[in-house]
């Protein structure tokens, strides 16, 4: 293995010109070559990122100060902060903001806890650990549209599988997605089921990095499993946990597919989210200006929440 690796690094055939260079190392030429190729190699990615990410960010910002209807692109005018002012008094927006916040506040801690639990479970050296990993991860590779359609059937009030199981325990049929009080929680439950496996993989990677010696040392000191978890595992997972919490937060704020497929944002707006509203304003009402203002607010919220979380979590 080692020999094969070493062989690979040998030049294919000794090039006489290059041999001269080797004897008389011309550092400047190599440096220049690196510079030119460096720019050349990174150019495709940079051009694409500029066109499809940086430019749209700038445009979203500009459009948010405009009266701009998609169907009348010639008539766009600057209207200052009007779109933002409209947001402050728009009941739909405040409702969407509230729903999105609620979803995030519940999903982030719960899902991270579930993911940590799953990771600890399959990190044990037991026969079924790898099977467990596959089981827990399967919902993650299942697309959200598939999951959402599937769970709409499962949550059905009359002939849904979940209600039939609840009936076995003497619980009457629940309306789930049809009730303004239960719809969002039903989506939350399903979303955790779908996504916990991903965070599990990240936690698992973190757990594998914990040096075995630390556990051995703790064992010699007579620490029990709980102590080992508290004093060895958790501190070692600090950065991984911070990462998991931040990406889960960003994911949670983006909630769209579930309400779009399962509830159309209802009943009575109880599952309408920021992204849902942004989509509606932009692509159903074709109001570029107003939709852009929602985009900017959405962006600023996601950005500041993740920065605040980073500051708090990484400092500790």
């Amino acid at each position: 293995m080692e020999a094969a690796k070493k062989e690979r690094f040998e030049p294919q055939s000794p090039n006489p010109i290059k041999m001269v260079k080797r004897n008389n190392p011309n550092r400047m030429t190599y440096k220049r070559q690196k510079k030119v190729l460096g720019i050349l190699f990174s150019l495709p990615a940079l051009v694409l990122l500029f066109t499809f990410l940086i430019l749209p960010v700038i445009l979203a910002f500009i459009y948010s100060f405009m009266d701009y209807a998609m169907l009348r692109p010639g008539e766009k005018t600057f209207i200052g902060l009007d779109n933002y002012q409209r947001l402050l008094t728009d009941g739909n927006f405040l409702n969407a903001l509230k729903n999105t916040m609620y979803f995030t506040a519940v999903v982030v801690p719960l899902q991270s806890l579930v993911a940590l639990g799953l990771a600890l479970l399959v990190n044990k050296k037991v026969k079924l650990a790898s099977l467990g990993r596959v089981f827990f991860f399967s919902p993650v590779v299942t697309s959200m549209v598939v999951v959402a359609i599937l769970w709409t059937f499962l949550y059905n009030v009359e002939n849904g599988l979940i209600n039939s199981v609840l009936n076995l325990f003497g619980i009457p049929n629940q309306p789930f997605l049809l009730s303004p009080n239960q719809a969002m929680n039903s989506i939350i439950f399903m979303s955790i089921w779908q996504a916990a496996g991903f965070q599990m993989i990240i936690f698992l990677a973190g757990l594998k990095e914990v040096p075995e010696e630390l556990y051995e040392a703790a064992e010699i000191d007579g620490a029990n499993a709980w102590r080992k978890f508290l004093n060895v595992t958790l501190p070692a997972l600090k950065h991984v946990t911070a990462f998991v919490l931040i990406i889960t937060t960003i994911q949670a704020f983006r909630l769209f597919v579930q309400p779009f497929v399962m509830t159309n944002g209802g009943p009575s707006g109880s599952t309408k989210t920021l992204v849902y509203m942004l989509y509606e304003e932009g692509f159903q009402f074709r109001d570029v200006g107003y939709s852009s203002a929602i985009s900017v607010v959405f962006f600023i919220i996601v950005l500041s929440v993740s920065l605040i979380m980073k500051k708090i979590l990484v400092k500790e």
Binding site: A60, R254, V275
Partner: protein
């Protein structure tokens, strides 16, 4: 109870917990696959445990969704559209993002550090916040309801560049220096040293990108105006909202959409986990 039996009992307990929790996790997916093999009328009449034990199996739903022209669901077309566009994102993305990361980490041209910082900062931009301007840009290119709209914007990816960067950082300098002394150009170094040593991160990037974009819904929904370029996710949503909803066919469609991805994951799982955990090449 001595130490050994205690350990063994603990292991049995962990195995049992994995089985119970694991079954809860895959129950919905199992139900989906089993229902897809049931006759239409049985799907919502067999409840509780019975839902998982079908009396009779049929492939009628699969036949209908794939070959029955009367339903006109174009399922093959949707599958192809998804495979083609996601394939393009994966393949072009691997090339573009790995080259960019290599250039930024190993070639260190002036400004590379700043560019890297910007890319990492851009990672935080949620896709949804650029939805409207991105649509207008794609529209200006004339790509609405065309394939490029579905893949070109997603080739370059900040997270993937970051992923490659992390891996390349761990490839020891000595390897490149040795290659340089042997007369290798930066390009040769990339192809002959970096790429062969970074296979796990390529696999990780490929599988993450595939799974993410296979599941894409909102963007394909927006940029496909007709059935001809519709991806499979948008396609099944249309099946689901159809007035003449066929539950069996939907179950078959959901299964067909999911099984390839689960198989790919099973096949690549080792690389996937390895890619995340691997801390680089041992010099």
């Amino acid at each position: 109870m001595n130490y050994k039996t205690k350990k063994r009992l603990a292991k049995v307990g962990v195995n049992l917990t994995i089985i119970v929790v694991g079954l809860l996790f895959i129950a919905p997916l199992l139900w989906m696959i089993i229902s897809s093999l049931k006759p239409e009328t049985k799907i919502f009449t067999q409840m509780g445990l019975e839902a998982f034990i079908p009396e009779s199996l049929t492939f009628e739903n699969y036949y209908n969704i794939l070959f029955n022209k009367e339903t006109g669901t174009n399922f093959f077309l949707y599958m192809w559209n998804s495979l083609y566009t996601v394939g393009m994102i994966v393949i072009l993305g691997l090339i573009v993002n790995s080259l960019c990361a290599y250039a930024l980490v190993k070639l260190k041209f002036p400004g590379a550090g700043l560019i890297l910082m910007i890319i990492i900062a851009l990672y935080i931009v949620p896709f949804e916040s650029v939805l409207i301007p991105l649509y207008l840009i794609v529209n200006a290119f004339g790509w609405v309801n065309e394939y490029p709209a579905l893949y070109v914007p997603f080739i370059a990816n900040c997270f993937n560049i970051f992923l490659f960067r992390q891996f390349f950082l761990n490839i020891p300098k000595e390897l490149e220096e040795a290659a340089h002394i042997d007369g290798a150009s930066p390009w040769t170094t990339f192809w002959r040293i970096i790429v062969p040593n970074a296979k796990p991160v390529f696999a990780t990037s490929a599988i993450l990108t595939f799974v993410t974009h296979w599941s894409d819904f909102m963007w394909p929904l927006i940029v496909t105006t007709g059935a001809s370029k519709r991806t499979v996710q948008v396609g099944i949503q249309y099946l689901f909202t159809d007035n003449n909803i066929q539950y069996g066919e939907i179950m078959a469609a959901l299964s067909l959409t999911t099984i390839p991805v689960i198989l790919i994951f099973l096949f690549f799982q080792r690389y996937y986990v390895q890619g995340i955990t691997s801390s680089g090449v041992k010099g």
